[in-house]
């Protein structure tokens, strides 16, 4: 075989190898560029993680504009400030929020020190109350253990297991 053929075959084979590599990477490009990773530890107040189009408008734009005045400046969201789910926010509506490890809870905590149905936050008379649902380790508002429904002012830390929650405007 001539020198030229050998060289062409040599280069052609290398091109074939790289063809497979590059086409495999093309298939994976959405993994490389299309995956959104949100670090919960670095961002103190993360933006909405879900696709913006799907998020309820109040929640999606909550950081951008002041909350609606309809609830007389009450808190608009529940924020987890400490614990495994730190940075998670949950929009508050007019219904109660059930907190615990059970999948049926509104806020499902991934926290070994919380009970499956740990506590309930509910609004009454323009104020939010927290009620312990017989949890093992208790619920605390500030330093006080919750024995009966206790009002939760905006910005007061509520400890559930290892997690600390807070109501924010």
């Amino acid at each position: 075989m001539s020198e030229l053929t050998v060289t062409l075959l040599r280069i052609g084979y290398l091109a074939l190898l790289w063809l497979l590599v590059l086409s495999a990477i093309t298939v994976l490009r959405r993994d490389l560029y299309g995956t959104r990773i949100i670090d919960r530890r670095r961002t103190p107040a993360p933006r909405a993680a879900g696709p913006a189009a799907d998020a309820p408008p109040a929640a999606a734009e909550a950081p951008a504009r002041p909350p609606r005045r309809s609830r007389s400046a009450g808190p608009s969201r529940l924020v987890v400030t400490e614990g495994p789910l730190r940075g998670t926010t949950l929009p508050l509506g007019s219904s109660a929020v059930l907190i615990g490890r059970a999948p049926s809870c509104t806020l499902v905590l991934d926290d070994d020190y919380s009970s499956s149905r740990h506590a309930r936050l509910f609004p009454q008379d323009d104020q939010w109350f927290v009620e312990d649902l017989g949890s093992t380790n208790g619920t605390y508002v500030g330093d006080q253990r919750v024995e009966q429904p206790t009002p939760v002012p905006t910005g007061t830390p509520v400890r559930v297991g290892q997690s600390v929650l807070e109501l924010q405007r």
């Binding site: 075989m1 050998v6 060289t7 075959l9 040599r10 280069i11 084979y13 290398l14 074939l16 190898l17 790289w18 063809l19 497979l20 590599v21 086409s23 495999a24 990477i25 298939v27 994976l28 959405r30 993994d31 299309g34 995956t35 959104r36 990773i37 949100i38 670090d39 919960r40 530890r41 993360p46 909405a48 993680a49 879900g50 696709p51 799907d54 998020a55 309820p56 929640a59 999606a60 495994p84 789910l85 940075g87 998670t88 926010t89 949950l90 929009p91 509506g93 219904s95 109660a96 929020v97 059930l98 999948p103 049926s104 809870c105 509104t106 806020l107 499902v108 905590l109 991934d110 070994d112």
Partner: protein
């Protein structure tokens, strides 16, 4: 902790079929070109060879279509390409040995037979194992199996010492290295054990210098396994495998607990162990000598344990240069064990740096797919198993290529999928089948269960997504939420899909 937003997976296996075309072409063209390069004519069985490898790959492809329709489309083509490349290089070396009248030249056909057996076993794994979580039931069985496999070569009659390492088992004409299979069993055991004990491993214990140290009793069983395997391996004088098990152990602990302390403890233990081994065992000390002073005349000229092999491999790769000598134009057969331990050097010589980098990138893609599967799959056991298995392939490659290129001391490990050796090929195909099975689970879309708002509890919002929605973006809309009443993993996942709005 980070939350990872998955994207929608395109269904269908057309991509895989398309990728299989260049993958098969790499193997077949390599085989033909190697034949032309060494003997100046196209190998007589080239058509049969092409048909055979194509059929093998298509069988796996069809089984995947039937039994794992969502499995990752890239894993199979990459594995087929690597295996084909290895077969081509092995047949090229076997031709060269025959040309120069060496007796041990019939190994290309044996490797081809092993390929067929490996593919058959991978298909059996895919067919029999419908759900990878079944393996979790055999956590402790896997532990016993791993220990038994590791100890097998030490048995008097069937165990054999080859080149100073007692890692072979020979029954009649069939020999195998049980340690290759032990690594799968160990990965299953570590995954099953750590998924139930990771909380105590991660949370309980003292903090020293910013490192969370685990309690001794949580570590007990796992240290026993690890210590036993290392003891046996030092007894068998096979340091590559012991390094591999150690790496697997540390990596899976880190995956399970997310504690940097494990990596630090592991590295410290390893440095201590390596130093102790280098001073105690003569052959380990010799390996360090070869690594650090490979080009010294006295090390090069040593009768036993010299640097001849490593240096010949380096010369071969230097001869290859950027674009290689071309199939059959170099002299990779001058390196001892060019078809097994030093197949990377053979590829580096004939395909050059360009080809070697492509091969390394193929491994990178394979490992990336495995780790991506680990992120995507919903149960903790699957995460740990996929992570551990892809780590073990990547780490084994690192140890081999690092040894051949003098980045780390040379240890006797096989290059996954490429190198000559039945046990290694079978074990790695089984790993590929397991990864395919887990990735099918990871990429399968979750049936969406609509949440019904109840006045008492409120509207469920997927905040701590317990595994929902890997196949599709997690919705944070209040009325379109998988509320987790669908199929539920049997343990807690490690990731939290962010549906926080």
């Amino acid at each position: 902790m980070a939350s990872i937003q998955p994207h929608r997976v395109r269904p269908g296996r057309g991509t895989e079929l398309l990728l299989l075309v260049p993958a098969l072409a790499i193997g077949v063209t390599g085989y033909v070109l190697a034949g032309i390069g060494v003997t100046d004519h196209v190998p007589g069985n080239a058509v049969g060879y092409a048909v055979g490898t194509t059929v093998l790959a298509l069988v796996v492809h069809v089984v995947l279509r039937l039994r794992a329709p969502y499995a990752d489309p890239v894993i199979l083509p990459v594995v087929v390409a690597l295996n084909g490349l290895g077969l081509a290089m092995i047949s090229r070396l076997s031709l060269a040995y025959a040309e120069r009248g060496r007796a041990d030249s019939g190994f290309a056909d044996r490797q081809l037979a092993w390929t067929a057996i490996s593919v058959a076993l991978a298909v059996v794994v895919l067919l029999l194992l419908r759900d990878h979580r079944t393996l979790r039931r055999y956590t402790y069985t896997a532990m016993v199996a791993a220990l038994a496999l590791i100890a097998l070569p030490l048995l008097p009659v069937i165990g054999q010492t080859v080149n100073g390492a007692r890692i072979w088992v020979r029954v009649g004409p069939v020999g195998m290295q049980p340690a290759e299979f032990a690594k799968i069993a160990l990965a299953v055991f570590f995954a099953g054990y750590l998924v139930t004990h990771r909380d105590t491993l991660a949370l309980a214990g003292k903090k020293v210098l910013g490192l969370q140290l685990p309690r001794a009793r949580d570590l007990g069983p796992i240290l026993v396994v690890w210590g036993a395997s290392l003891l046996v391996l030092v007894g068998q004088r096979d340091l590559g495998t012991s390094l591999l098990f150690f790496g697997l152990f540390v990596a899976m602990l880190y995956l399970a607990t997310e504690r940097t302390s494990w990596v630090v403890i592991g590295l410290l233990l390893f440095v201590g162990g390596a130093a102790a081994a280098a001073t105690t065992f003569g052959h380990v000390g010799a390996r360090f000598d070869v690594w650090l002073r490979a080009l010294d005349q006295d090390v090069y000229g040593r009768e036993v344990g010299g640097s001849f092999q490593v240096v010949q491999g380096l010369f071969g790769m230097a001869n290859g240069g950027l674009f290689g000598t071309g199939w059959g134009q170099g002299r990779p057969d001058l390196v001892p064990y060019a078809e097994s331990d030093f197949i990377i050097a053979s590829i580096g010589e004939e395909l050059g740096l360009t080809g070697l980098l492509a091969v390394l990138l193929l491994y990178t893609v394979l490992a990336e797919r495995g780790l991506r599967t680990a992120i995507g799959v919903r149960d903790g056991f699957g995460k740990l198993l996929a992570g551990g298995l892809s780590f073990v392939v990547a780490f084994q490659l690192f140890v081999v290529v690092g040894g051949v290129t003098r980045v780390i001391p040379l240890t006797g490990l096989t290059t996954p999928f490429l190198a000559y050796g039945g046990s290694s090929l079978v074990a790695n195909w089984i790993i590929a089948a397991l990864l395919l099975r887990i990735s099918d689970e990871a990429r399968r879309p979750v049936p969406v269960v609509r949440a019904v708002p109840t006045p008492d509890i409120g509207v469920p919002v997927a905040v701590a997504g317990r595994g929902e929605g890997t196949g599709r973006p997690v919705r944070s809309s209040a009325r379109d939420v998988p509320d987790g009443t669908g199929p539920r993993p049997d343990d807690r996942p490690t990731e939290h899909l962010g549906g926080d709005a």
